[in-house]
């Protein structure tokens, strides 16, 4: 078997998985059966494409192959159908086997959206939403997902199974939400995709290949969402945020592997094309009404991206954007992040006062960045003893090796 065929199958896996699974699910009427058929279809492609050549439309080939298997499975086991309630196509009836061609795009497009919205249903816990999205929409194996989230394969398998059982038992419908529910439901989808991105982006260590793959998957998912829902500004906002954040990828670690802060990154090595595209999307996402939280986060990222240095960043504008962001997304984490901008506009003392309020509030107890931020502000104010204490508090709740390394170095600087 040539490398080309293997690569073509791998490429088809990356690009077409959701498309093929969703289309097969319509025929299979059940996600587990659909998954099995799609897996088999990809495996069969290795031989078939080696023998007959890689088809022009790999997605169509795989869909036909998978659907044929699903129909055969139904014929073989009629009784099994009554016990497979996981996905119920709204039209109910079994479709005749269509020839897959360019005329079906809108039908297929809807199917992928249905899949995504089902995986991100609020009835599922966040962890389950993430696991299910990676499994069903991205086609990652349970092992790969487990590695990405640093849990055992058994734990992840159980999580996915539980989620599927919940969908089945409680009858989570397989559909794109109604107009009225869409903003809230879309927000959940975007949150899951963003979580995939940050998991891949912020934690070097573990299996690095899987991490970079997560970032790429998140970007691809967002591109797919943009294609399927071109009018949704928050999708553009998320895409902008991902592009602008990922533009810094090359500069986030020093040659010796040490984590580099925004202040220390070599801006000349940021991906300017990604930044330009991100900025374009931000402008588009901000226009036409109240900007959502992803558009606002992207706008903040854009201000960082266009500043020649940390010090020359338009901090006042960043602060204004954070004010907006806190309004639409009153999360204590956002309030904390705002204090950093505040410190650059009004000085560390003003920011420290707000951090103290957050500490009293209690909701961020155990959140390592609360203590790390406090420590940095105290350090800037010259209060070394208090800064040292705060760095120790941060270390007590930080597991990531790179972050521990960073905090330990800072601690030694103030001790």
């Amino acid at each position: 078997m040539t490398r080309d065929v293997r690569e073509a199958v791998a490429e088809a896996h990356r690009r077409e998985w959701a498309f093929v699974l969703a289309a097969t699910a319509r025929v299979a009427g059940d996600i587990d059966l659909a998954e099995e058929c799609v897996q088999d279809a990809y495996v069969s492609a290795l031989d078939a494409w080696a023998r007959d050549g890689v088809p022009a439309n790999t997605g169509a080939w795989l869909t036909v192959a998978a659907r044929r298997r699903a129909i055969d499975a139904h014929r073989r086991d009629r009784t099994l159908r009554t016990k497979l309630p996981l996905l119920i196509p709204p039209d109910g009836d079994q479709e005749p086997e269509p020839e897959l061609d360019e005329q079906e795009p809108s039908v297929i497009a809807d199917d992928r959206l249905r899949l995504v919205f089902t995986c991100c249903h609020p009835a599922l816990a966040r962890e389950a939403q993430v696991a299910l999205t990676l499994r069903l929409v991205c086609g990652l194996t349970t092992e790969e997902i487990a590695q990405a989230f640093l849990v055992s394969e058994a734990t992840m398998a159980a999580r996915v199974t539980r989620a599927k059982k919940k969908i089945s038992a409680a009858r989570v419908p397989y559909r794109v939400p109604a107009e009225a529910d869409l903003p809230e439901r879309l927000d959940a989808v975007l949150t899951v995709v963003h979580l995939l991105f940050t998991t891949g982006h912020t934690a070097p260590g573990g299996t690095d290949l899987i991490r970079a793959d997560l970032v790429d998957r998140a970007v691809q998912l967002t591109l797919m969402l943009q294609q399927l829902m071109p009018d949704e500004r928050e999708v553009r906002g998320l895409l902008a945020l991902l592009l602008l954040t990922d533009a810094r990828r090359a500069t986030r670690t020093a040659p010796d592997g040490r984590m580099l802060l925004l202040e220390e990154q070599d801006r000349s090595r940021w991906d300017r094309d990604a930044i330009a595209e991100g900025q374009r999307l931000v402008m588009s996402a901000l226009r036409g009404g109240q900007p959502g939280r992803f558009a606002l986060q992207a706008a903040i990222a854009a201000l960082h991206a266009e500043a020649p240095s940390y010090g020359e960043t338009d901090w006042l504008q960043v602060l204004r954007l954070y004010d907006e962001l806190v309004r639409v997304w009153p999360s204590p984490v956002v309030v904390l992040n705002r204090t950093v901008a505040l410190s650059m506009v009004d000085g560390p003392a003003a920011a420290l006062a707000e951090v103290a309020l957050l500490e009293d509030d209690g909701r961020l107890a155990g959140y390592r960045y609360l203590y790390a931020t406090k420590a940095d502000l105290l350090n800037r104010l010259g209060q070394r003893a208090d800064a040292a204490k705060a760095y120790r508090e941060a270390l007590a709740v930080t597991a990531n090796a790179q972050e521990r390394d960073f905090l330990t170095r800072r601690l030694s600087e103030v001790s």
Binding site: H121, A123, A169, A170, R171, V172, P173, R175, P177, D181
Partner: protein, 112 residues
């Protein structure tokens, strides 16, 4: 269509402290709720308010004790049995169910 139980959990103290006007408002909301369920296209199969937890008796391994099964801040105070097309419809019904002093749980009925 599948059946779901909507369980209403609320603090009993709130009802004890409520004014007559507030209590009437809740009653009216429950009456209105029955209509709203039909408007959504779901079916109200049944429902009842329960007497307060001090009237409950618990049996565990043949031992009978006074009080509810679990002592919780928000106690089980009533239920509705509904029929809905899917979870989304059941949740839409659940959101309309009056529970001003707590919230509701939506649980699918087991089918064998």
């Amino acid at each position: 269509m599948a059946q779901y139980l909507i369980l209403i959990y609320e603090t009993e103290e709130s009802y004890a402290k409520a004014t007559e006007a507030e209590l009437n408002a809740v009653m009216a909301a429950h009456n209105r709720f029955a209509e709203q369920v039909a408007e959504l296209g779901a079916t109200m199969v049944g429902g009842n308010a329960l007497q307060p937890t001090m009237t409950a008796t618990t049996i565990r391994s043949d031992i009978v004790t006074d009080g509810p099964f679990v002592e919780t801040k928000e106690a089980l105070g009533g239920y509705y049995l509904i029929e809905a097309a899917d979870l989304d419809q059941a949740l839409a019904v659940g959101k309309l169910c009056p529970a001003p002093y707590g919230g509701v749980e939506v649980r699918p009925i087991m089918t064998f």
